[in-house]
């Protein structure tokens, strides 16, 4: 059998057996034992042990093979690995995994990286998303986890899973999630008091008086409709009434009802832009900035204004369908003082609570109004149409339909 070199090196049984063993044992020493003995990174600032609920969620995460589509570390080149403007693109550190037994780093990224997912989305968003990811993210190919629901009622399993996902990012992730929860409570509390206008504090004041720079041409409206129907209907509904399939899970605050012209004009173009770009803190509205372009967002902002006049029902769209003051029925809530004022900047205390949440606690028990159903108490406040019709009315740059008249 030998062609040459038979005498170079005698491969008898002993040589092969012990040679193979010794070479491999050396390799194990070099690449397994040596790193184990020499590489013991200290815990990082964000490292944090999991609570029992989060640990239970982590087991479900492992059991369902989530790790095969979602990575849990950001590489230096991954500034887009973060799927929400609420989270920080932070390159993974060795000490982040200090407390974890059996790492779930992942090797493939079919879905987004989750290493900083904590606080990126609202708990209720996750409830809808786990039931059917297409409800909140129509282009997602993630499997349904509807088997963790009893009918539509979430079981402890899915709650644990959400607790785990909200803990990703360690200390920073948990703080983000807590901040979202605190803001949600504040929003609910203020609304229960009839202070619907509290939502304006959510947007930087600089956006308050911004007009849509995109003329509501047919092109803009049709494009906006396309953006709306491919991204928004899971929550805001096929009719724009806020009753998409995700509505079952996202009740408080519920998705905005765009068929109500007064609710539409309650927000300026700039505020809608901010809401779409960055999401709305304390609500299930996620940030779309990584998905939609500036053009997309302004066009869909234009399009949303046609929904009360049947923009989603008709094929031919034109600027005449934009809601105008004549359509506006004032919303039944305390109007907002129009004077420009500094935007609400929530301050997170080290404990994770809000520094500026007067009366935020204890309000959970009160009945929570949904967006399109103002609490009865509010009707006694009395509408003040001249103020609500144009949130930016305090300045010359009037926001709203009068400001978007055709040339």
């Amino acid at each position: 059998m030998d062609h040459n070199g038979g005498a170079v090196f005698r491969m008898d049984g002993r040589t092969v057996f012990f040679g193979a063993f010794i070479v491999f044992a050396s390799i194990i020493f070099i690449v397994v034992a040596l790193p184990y003995l020499t590489f013991q990174p200290p815990r990082s600032a964000d490292a944090r042990p999991l609570s029992p609920e989060e640990e239970a969620g982590r087991r479900l995460y492992a059991a369902n093979g989530c790790v095969y589509c979602h990575s849990q570390y950001l590489r230096p080149q991954d500034w887009t690995g973060v799927q929400s403007f609420r989270t920080v693109g932070r390159v993974a550190q060795a000490g982040d995994y200090y407390y974890q037994q059996t790492l779930l780093l992942g090797t493939e990224r079919t879905g987004p990286d989750l290493s900083q997912e904590g606080g990126a989305h609202d708990d209720e968003w996750h409830l809808a998303h786990f039931y059917n990811p297409r409800y909140t993210s129509p282009k997602s190919i993630m499997p349904q986890f509807s088997f963790y629901y009893d009918g539509y009622r979430p079981t402890d399993d899915v709650k644990n899973l959400i607790a785990y996902v909200q803990s990703l990012g360690g200390q920073a992730g948990v703080e983000r999630a807590e901040r979202q929860r605190a803001l949600k409570i504040k929003l609910q509390t203020e609304r229960a008091r009839g202070n619907e206008a509290i939502i304006h504090e959510w947007f930087p004041s600089t956006w308050r008086n911004v007009r849509n720079p995109m003329e509501p041409t047919t092109r803009s409206l049709v494009h906006g409709k396309q953006v709306f129907t491919t991204n928004c209907i899971g929550c805001h509904g096929l009719n724009g009434d806020g009753k998409g399939p995700a509505n079952t899970f996202i009740a408080n605050p519920a998705p905005r009802n765009f068929t109500d012209a007064s609710q539409q004009l309650y927000f300026s173009d700039g505020e809608l832009y901010d809401a779409i770009l960055f999401g709305v803190d304390g609500t299930a509205m996620p940030a779309w900035g990584d998905v939609l372009t500036v053009n997309d967002i302004w066009d869909v902002t234009n399009f949303i204004r046609t929904i009360p006049n049947g923009g989603l029902q008709v094929d031919q769209l034109d600027a005449s369908m934009m809601v105008s003051p004549a359509d506006v029925v004032p919303i039944r809530s305390t109007p907002l003082p129009i004077e420009p004022r500094p935007g609400y900047v929530p301050v997170v205390t080290p404990e994770g609570g809000l520094g500026e949440t007067g009366g935020a606690t204890g309000a959970n028990a009160s009945p929570q109004p949904s967006e399109d159903e103002a609490p009865g108490a509010n009707s006694t406040v009395g509408p003040q149409p001249q103020r609500t019709a144009a949130p930016g009315g305090g300045s010359n740059a009037t926001v709203g339909p009068s400001g978007t008249a055709q040339p």
Partner: protein
């Protein structure tokens, strides 16, 4: 060494199901064929879910993440591993000029291995997993795998110890190496002592788990994850190829020296490379550097092996038209060539930056495990089963169709996944988010699912063809062609 001439004697052995000569080998191969159809089918369901995520949705055990584990474990540890062990149980007696030490022990190993597969599918389907890639099986099953590996190794080493042919052919080096390396690798990589330690209070599988605490776990995971390819599938496949190709073409191996260089260089370099899966994790830099060097070093064993095989084929290339197993083996070496060009390049930081986390890697995994090792395993099956049964292949035409289905299906799969992977990687570097990238992948995922259906069909054809060969085909007559040509 005349490796070809004893096939006739061998084939005339008794035909007991669990004790007859060659029964352990055949039973391993039959099991492998069955597992291939199952694991491929599971893969097809998963591939369909990637283009139609609500397909069979809401059923826990048909969730993508669980199906993926069942697919990878099924093809790796049931189909390929069983096909390779079955081939070992045939090749080792051939090369040592003796009988297998114990057919009964071999069959016990076979039953144990199948039990691992069944229990593995049931546990993975129910979410019991260690969640470490390629080390998913829970700890009790790890123990069963270890026992089965050690039993198989014992059987093989006893056979080699009792050999009549004193000189060890190169295939035997690889088989000996493999049977030493794999149990060591499996034991270390799965951290199998971990559940026995007092510190093992938490576990991720609902069973004791072999995960370590801290980032070090991932370096161990990928030491194991990649070396299970290197010290199990590659060395097994090399051993089988080194045996079957010279036997079929009845020609001596080109060079002993090349075999020698190939064997020791793969033994040394392969172990270093695992970390190239995690080049961007916060793990020690020197370990990554070693991995890149080791990956490039793998050019040595690869090219010595391929040079050796292809030069052995000198003057005999025409025989791939005559012999079906040879066709599988040779096409496998071509895909092996592509695998081993891609592999080291993927380990280089610059290219890794583009393709890491993408479907390119999935394509590469199919290139190695389907294009290369599965082709070699199919070739071995089409060689060994007819020879040991002294029966003709039931339908060479069907086998031909199978060959073209799996070749075309595999090529479509690799190309679609790798083109899709390049698009993914380029879009990420361009700053696009996953949610924007996903729709771009859809056409490629559709092609992948179609190619998957072709591969499933080829697996079914193989199962049918072998089943009919065993039960209903014509025995070879005394005037039949020599065993080397027999399979076709």
């Amino acid at each position: 060494m005349a490796v070809a001439v004893r096939d006739l004697d061998y084939a005339r052995g008794r035909a007991g199901f669990l004790s007859g000569e060659g029964s352990a080998s055949r039973n391993f191969l039959y099991s492998a064929i069955a597992w291939l159809t199952i694991a491929d089918f599971v893969g097809l369901i998963a591939a369909t879910q990637m283009i139609s995520p609500d397909f069979l949705a809401g059923i826990p055990f048909l969730t993508f993440g669980r199906l993926r584990q069942m697919h990878t474990n099924g093809v790796l540890f049931m189909w390929l591993s069983m096909a390779q062990l079955g081939s070992f149980f045939y090749i080792v007696p051939r090369l040592t000029g003796t009988k297998l030490y114990s057919e009964i022990l071999g069959n016990i190993t076979m039953i144990l291995w199948n039990m691992v597969g069944i229990a593995g599918y049931l546990t993975l389907a129910n979410g019991m997993t260690q969640a470490r890639e390629y080390a998913e099986l829970i700890w009790p099953l790890d123990v069963m795998v270890m026992v089965a590996l050690l039993l198989a190794g014992y059987n093989i080493f006893r056979t080699i110890f009792l050999r009549k042919e004193k000189k060890l052919f190169v295939s035997l080096w690889y088989i000996m190496g493999t049977m030493i390396w794999m149990p060591m690798l499996y034991f270390v990589g799965n951290v199998m002592w971990q559940p026995l330690l007092p510190s093992a209070e938490t576990n991720i599988a609902g069973f004791p788990s072999g995960g370590l605490t801290g980032i070090i776990d991932v370096t161990w995971n990928w030491f194991y994850g990649h070396n299970v390819l290197g010290y199990w599938f590659t060395t097994s496949g090399t051993a089988i190829t080194y045996y079957i190709i010279p036997v079929i073409i009845r020609s001596p191996l080109y060079s002993h020296l090349l075999s020698l260089i190939g064997f020791w260089s793969i033994a040394f370099f392969y172990g270093l490379v695992g970390q190239h899966h995690i080049l961007s994790t916060p793990t020690p830099g020197w370990l990554k550097t070693l991995a890149v060097i080791g990956s490039l070093g793998l050019f040595i064993p690869v090219f010595t092996f391929l040079t050796n095989i292809w030069l052995t084929m000198r003057g005999n290339w025409g025989k791939i038209y005559e012999s079906l197993p040879l066709k599988f083996m040779i096409v496998g070496t071509v895909f092996y060539f592509i695998t081993c060009i891609q592999g080291p390049l993927q380990a280089i930081q610059g290219f890794n930056r583009l393709i890491h986390f993408t479907n390119w890697i999935v394509g590469h995994a199919h290139l190695a495990l389907l294009g290369t090792f599965s082709f070699w395993a199919m070739g071995a099956i089409y060689y060994i089963i007819p020879v040991t049964l002294r029966r003709r292949i039931y339908s060479p035409g069907l086998a031909e169709i199978q060959f073209w289905l799996v070749t075309a299906g595999f090529l479509l799969m690799m190309l679609s996944l790798q083109i899709g992977g390049l698009i993914q990687g380029a879009m990420w570097l361009n700053g696009d988010s996953q949610y924007k990238v996903l729709p771009e992948l859809k056409p490629y995922l559709v092609i992948r699912a179609v190619s998957g259906a072709m591969i499933v069909m080829s697996g079914i054809l193989q199962a049918w063809n072998i089943y009919k060969t065993v039960t209903a085909s014509q025995p070879m007559t005394a005037a039949a062609p020599a065993p080397a040509e027999a399979p076709n």
